[in-house]
């Protein structure tokens, strides 16, 4: 795919590690057959719960480890109950229904204000049985790619 070399599993020594690579297991690996928009060539990712920073998870490419994002389970957000994933989308990763699915949203951080937003227009749907995933782009343009996380969590 690309010629860029990939460093081995070393976190930068200047920055505290968000998770310990030693704890990563096979069950944390999810295949994204279509890649992610912007990273179409990357198909193998880790999804790891950040035990020290609940309820965040880390999504990290195994092919280019610099490609690391924070994600959050959509059901933790109030808006989650309003978001339906169409069947024609989740069937792309062989889901019959959503009972074997987890849905996450990708977070973005404004490094100056430290404000977090979530991309609820394009959630990640994970087939937990087959460990495959897909980033759905929903038709509804009322769903923000920068949904504020202030007072956004279900109580």
């Amino acid at each position: 795919m690309n010629t860029q070399s990939v460093e081995c599993n070393q976190q930068s020594s200047e920055q505290p590690a968000l998770f310990n690579m030693d704890n990563v297991q096979e069950q944390n690996i999810v295949q994204f057959p279509f890649g992610l928009p912007g990273f179409e060539m990357l198909t193998k990712f880790l999804i790891v719960e950040l035990d020290d920073y609940p309820p965040f998870y880390m999504l990290q490419s195994l092919e280019e480890q610099e490609v690391t994002m924070l994600i959050l389970n959509l059901k933790l957000l109030k808006v989650g109950k309003d978001i339906q994933i169409p069947r024609k989308e989740y069937s792309k990763i062989h889901l019959q229904d959503m009972t074997d699915a987890e849905v996450y949203v990708i977070l973005k951080i404004n490094s100056e204000t430290h404000q977090f937003t979530a991309n609820i227009r394009a959630p990640l749907v994970i087939n937990t049985r087959e460990r495959t995933g897909f980033q759905v782009i929903l038709e509804n343009d009322q769903l923000s790619v920068e949904h504020s996380l202030v007072n956004a969590f279900v109580s």
């Binding site: 200047e14 928009p37 990273f39 309820p55 991309n119 007072n151 956004a152 969590f153 279900v154």
Partner: protein, 82 residues
């Protein structure tokens, strides 16, 4: 870029299993019908490009410190967070 001229109701075929039909071009917009296997993602280009841009911006840079994750919940703690 390959350029083809089509009338309303006519179609083009891409590969073995993708057909794009011009349904209506009577107004300033053109309506297209797309038949493709369900495992082929189809998006409006500007929407797809926006999501590409969002994903690239979501990649954590070295400026993101773990403390920022803790700070997020100072005002808005989710359930189960001390």
């Amino acid at each position: 870029m390959l350029v083809l001229t089509r009338k309303s109701g006519e179609s083009i075929r891409i590969g073995n299993n993708i057909t794009i039909t011009v349904l209506d071009n009577s107004s300033s917009q053109i309506k297209l019908g797309i038949q493709a296997p369900t495992d082929i993602p189809i998006h409006r280009s500007e929407v797809y490009e926006r999501i590409q841009q969002e994903n690239r911006q979501a990649v954590l840079s070295g400026t993101v410190q773990p403390q920022m994750l803790k700070d997020l919940f100072k005002t808005d703690p989710p359930p189960g967070t001390p």
